[in-house]
Amino acid sequence: MKAEFTIPVVTNIPVTPSVVDGAMAHSRPFVAKSDHQTALGFPEELVEDWHDRALAKMKELLGKYRSLQVFMDSCVKCGACTDKCHYFLGTSDPKNMPVARQDLMRKVYRRYFTFAGKYFPWLVGAVDLTREVLEDWYSYYHQCSECRRCSVYCPYGIDTAEITMAGREILASVGIGQKYSNEIIGKVFKIGNNLGLPQPAMADTLLDLEEEIKEDIDVDVRLPLDDADAEVLLVSPSADFFAEPHVDGLIGYAKVFHQAGIPWTLSSHASEAANFGLFIGNDESMQKVATRIREAALELGVKRIIVGECGHAWRVAYSYWNTLIGPFDFLDPNYPAPQHICEATYDLVQAGALKFDKARNDDKVVTFHDSCNVARGSRMGNMPGGQFIIPRALIRASCNHFVDMREDSIREGTYCCGGGGGLLTDDLTELRVKGALPRVQALHEVIEQYHVTHMAAICAICKSQFTKVLPFYSLGMGMIISVHQLVGDALVLGSEQ
């Protein structure tokens, strides 16, 4: 694959680079246009009094989030996080070290909000808020995928994602939002999903898929839309409706419901599990996007809500929904609300309700990429770490050949795919390719050692990102697949028995 930048070399063992100052200073995503901004209640363009407004916003956020206030004060510059960010490992730019990314804000915080920074700025590295600083924020707060890997290793759990979110919120509130995320959130407000796919188009797509399955395996597996008789509302990332390899995952969910005899439906009103409000650190947007799901569930009168394969969506659903759009007292208390599709399938497997013919996946040697938001921002099942156990159990139930990647690159230490946190856009291709390096390096190890052919994931962003970046590393884009594709392919459906 040809590129306008140097593609990193994949080494046999992981390497921590020496710092190269300013290596990624040129990387910045497109700025939101005025209508993308106003749809979310932000000013159209950089406001005249941006300096004062930015500081006022910062003060507001410090009073609103304990995380931000405590994290600004607590860092001891121990350096434990410096080699933990995939963007630093892939770009060598020191401002992509988590602590340095935090310091972009911390040096302003110190200057205006602390004794030491007000009177001895040179001593503690405090600086005035200038246009240059603001530009740096825009650049480097869009080189963080909010993956929380740094937070695992920091002795105080300092989560750079929280600071990135605050940084983006301040930037948007003075008029410089990010086009990609804000445009998408606007589409959800207006139409109900990230792709701007209206109801008739959705209905057509689902019909096509039903026909495809029929042709393929000669079983009438349904993909219902707005079915008021359904027990389960499935909320999935809209990429599942047409993108590859996502759509095979959607077919997998449908087969599971079909085989288990669970009446389910998708909703055209809540046709999106993704919630980019999280990425831009804007609670109002996050709540507005999530509210559509509560509305759809009430309208359809379902008893359960199940969320499809999507990393940050699951974090929002698991950790934020109850606060934002709860309580879920109208749902069946016998099931967790919300429930992940992997949890639902796993319970069915445990109950012996599903039968698998693993040999159908014998052409594959599979490894599993833990998605960051699932790994470090949520849970599955009723035990800590269930989010690591359950998807692997599903893969093992449907495949004979499964291996894990290097221990420090999976589970809570998993490397981000490089495209999360609102960075999955073509104007950040260089960053995305370089940020994928640590994951690709670990993948390379198991390809060499175990001849791994496929990497399964449970996140729409991971799937899109790898489809795009794997070819840059001379790997096939088809390596990345949905967990529920493996499940669906191996699942023995009723009429086949």
């Binding site: 304990r66 004060d73 001891v76 510059k77 350096g79 020191p94 937070s151 002795p155 759990g157 950790s319």
Partner: protein, 238 residues
């Protein structure tokens, strides 16, 4: 009584005031600032006793740091643990009769000062030798280590080279606590040691030493992972 005694008595009162009020103010700010959402770094404990265990491992063993970097962990943990022992040993200047448990622990800590020296030197070395850590170090990060190293060195020199009148030092501090100070010996090592301690106390609430209250208030560490079971409504941290 000499000017030096008055000067040091005044300085200690002032520094103690700054330390206590400053840290109390910060704790109030942290406690009052809401935690609108559940953000524990998972996998996280699903029960309160589990969280207490996690916090215990973080503060006593520096668990996350251990996962991150073995070198930093060795230097950092040795420094902190040795400092704890040193400070416990120092309680003999503040208690009469010396508390039983202090007397029991003290003999085990005769080398703790050296251990602090080892840990602090290692931590300081990292700031020069590791390019990433060099990049993130501000002058204050170096100075904090210099300050601690100076306190430790003067302490060790008093212990092994130029002894000071420990009985008089103790009388001074016991007096200080009764608001009735007695004369302080005025040998330069002791005065340097104590002067630096005053500085350490005074900068505590306006420096990165705020990691001490901060670690207990970090929502990614102190929250219970139970958002589906209990509806988190913002204000409290669990």
């Amino acid at each position: 009584m000499s000017t030096v005694t008055y000067l040091y008595a005044g300085a200690f009162y002032l520094a103690a005031l700054i330390l206590v009020l400053g840290v109390a103010r910060k704790i109030m700010i942290y406690a009052r600032t809401p935690v609108p959402f559940k953000i524990p770094t998972t996998p996280a404990p699903t029960t309160m006793p589990g969280v207490v265990g996690r916090m215990f491992r973080e503060t006593v063993f520096f668990e996350s740091l251990f996962k991150a970097s073995k070198w930093t962990w060795i230097f950092g943990w040795v420094f902190h643990f040795a400092m704890l022992i040193v400070l416990i040993r120092h309680l003999r200047y503040f208690s009469e009769p010396v508390w039983m448990w202090v007397a029991v622990i003290s003999p085990f800590g005769v080398y703790a000062g050296w251990a602090m020296l080892f840990g602090l030197s290692g931590l300081w070395g990292r700031r020069f030798l590791v390019d990433r850590v060099r990049y993130i170090s501000a002058p204050s990060d170096h100075l904090m280590l210099v300050l601690l190293l100076a306190i430790v060195s003067t302490g060790l020199m008093m212990k092994y080279v130029w002894h000071t009148d420990i009985v008089a030092v103790k009388a001074f501090f016991l007096g200080l606590m009764r608001f009735d100070p007695t004369p302080l010996p005025s040998d330069p090592l002791l005065l340097t040691h104590l002067g630096l301690v005053v500085i350490l106390m005074a900068v505590f609430p306006v420096s990165k030493l705020l990691h001490v209250p901060g670690v207990f208030f970090s929502p990614t560490r102190n929250q219970v992972d139970n958002p589906r079971e209990f509806r988190h409504q913002g204000i409290r941290s669990s």
